[in-house]
Amino acid sequence: MTSDDPRPPPRRGFFGALGPNELKGLFWQVLVVGIAVAVVVFLWSNTVTNLTARRITTGFAFLGREASMPIADSLLAYNPRDSYLWAFVVGVANTLRVAVIGIVLATILGTLIGVSRLSANWLLSRLAAVYVEVLRDIPLLLQLLFWYVMMQALPAARAAWRPVEGVFLSNRGLILPAIPIGVTQLWVLGTAVLGFVAFLVIRRWLVSQQMRDGKPRPAWPFALGLIVVLPAAVSLLLDVSWTIEWPQLRGFNFVGGLTLAPEYFALLVALVTYTSAFIAEIVRSGIQSVPRGQWDAASALGLRRSFMLRQIILPQALRVIVPPMTSQYLNLTKNSSLSVAIGYQDVVSVANTTLNQTGQAIEVISLIMAVFLTISLGISFFMNWYNARLALAER
């Protein structure tokens, strides 16, 4: 298997074309692949025998059957009489709901804490260090159980805490005021998104103009016009109402508003705090990796502090920050499967119930793998694209 030999082998006859190294390599490959195939065949034949003995038919036909499993808290409409396939989709939506919001919040919190660790304020940097050290060194599952117990120990709905008017924290979860989003509201939000895209295009053009003649052109009037004024005009034109729905206590529970169930809230808090500790370390080392000379040079040019951070320090720090951040995002998504321990039904939890009810082990596990591989690939793809944009343009 000496394959690191850089010299090209001398060419000989038909079998001689394979030198001793190649023959050895071929032998090893045949051996390893043979063992792998033998193991797979062994496991496969056992599985087929076992499944026939248990009268379980392989295949994905079971997905069409009625799931009859309750899913308490779901983003999509669900009823126990729906099919396993739909239960699965609901589970995926629940995973994404916690993963996407978790990633956003963990990034914000982690960045704040990472920056705090570098603060000149001794107290702030010490507190941030303690936060990171404590959260990193305790298993996530333990933290999750802890938060869940804390949620259950909260007062009942009648005696709910009100940190801010309209926000209730009780053993029913976190209840927030909400704005009901209908079709007309979606039009306005869609305009805002389109405006944002248009703004990005315009800003790019402005930068290219600045590259040509060196004159800076302000981009903020376009931002204001496209992202704020335009949607507001559409809103006025269509006469869209933006009434806030305030949650109210009726009997033993709340009516109206947006409810985050205790399971979801505990999972979100655990994932965000745990991951933010790791993100904080990444952000800290990223900022520290920018050489001091870059700060000095930017100050020497007389740049404003905010401009210097935005245009000089951050782009260089991000180059160090983004690759490890990708694996943190993947970890957070994979860790969301711990929800099985507290009864928030994400895709793994739904799959587990399906497995217990139907015994379709192989199909269910391959579905889980497919879901997570797709999510992982999606995150890696996005982060690689972002990373390629940031990469150093070498001459």
């Binding site: 792998a36 507190l127 994979k334 099985v340 497995l355 793998m369």
Partner: protein
Amino acid sequence: MTAITDMPDLPRASRRPQIGNPVLRWLRTNLFSSIPNGILTIVLLAVLAKGVIGFVQWGIANAVWLTPANDSSACKAVRGLGACWAIIPEKYRFILFGTYPFDEQWRPALAVLLFITLYSLSTRRALWRRELAFLWIGALALISVLMWGGVFGLSFVSQDRWGGLPVTLILATFGLAFGFPLGILVALGRRSKLPAIRSLSVLYVELIRGVPLVSLLFMASVMFPLFMPAGFNIDKLLRAQIAIILFAGAYLAEVIRGGLQAVPRGQYEAADALGLSYWRKHRLVVLPQAIRHVIPPLVNTFIAFFKDTSLVLIIGIFDLLTTAKTAIIDPAWQQFSVEVYIFVAAIYFVFCFAMSRYSRSLEATSGR
């Protein structure tokens, strides 16, 4: 945010003369360097004081430290106001050793001590040589004898009765001990120029790293019986251990691959020039250098495994976290789960913190 603009290592023109009381000077530079910083300090101090006072009131002043056996009435009286630490002396034997026979619990206790000794010896740089592997094999064998018994007059204890801290340590340590050689093989396979071996290694690493450990553990507990010939079955703990080894192998392989990439090409060429075979080249020249490069990330990976072993709770194996969770099922003590979680968190923290300190000291001295 004022923080980023006041980076400690930035050149700051110090207009104030460096005179006066050193304590005051320290306070001024570190806590009150500017007005926003001063306000921040005061706000933080207020929050901190509130938190600390609250915790002291709950955890110390109003806490119940001891109660008569199996009587939680004193704790119930202070519920919500004070902690019930009395649950720890009440339940610690169960939390630490699970359902291991009560009179024999010195054996798992000794096993835990052996584990700790093994870890601390392994941190000594002077001992990093081949003999360390024999030490590990010997210690792990001794631990197996202690836990199982059946020889030397020790009564046999089946592994269904193992529980608590020794199980956590066993899962983590055996996971590393077997995952490490597996990881080396896979890392070499991934860098091999033989396409079949390379693609098998890539497939293994990516499949394992692509899915959560929870689903691997489910697979081990639910699917394993399906994979095996009828009538053949192995113990649940061993199945979970195999899943953890396979999981560890994939992650360690990636760390070791990083180390292999850091070994300069000249080293490979020199080994080839000496006429060493593939295995001798890697064993004698490449791997010792590669592994030295990656010891800090290896320690970090080990910390992650140590924490991840707690996931076996989901498939019902009695590790430290599961025994803790089971201890508070007892109706008399049900309401005092927070205290138990804090106790268990402290145990995990001590182990992980020691390892992360060690990893940091290695990073600081690496290359020396």
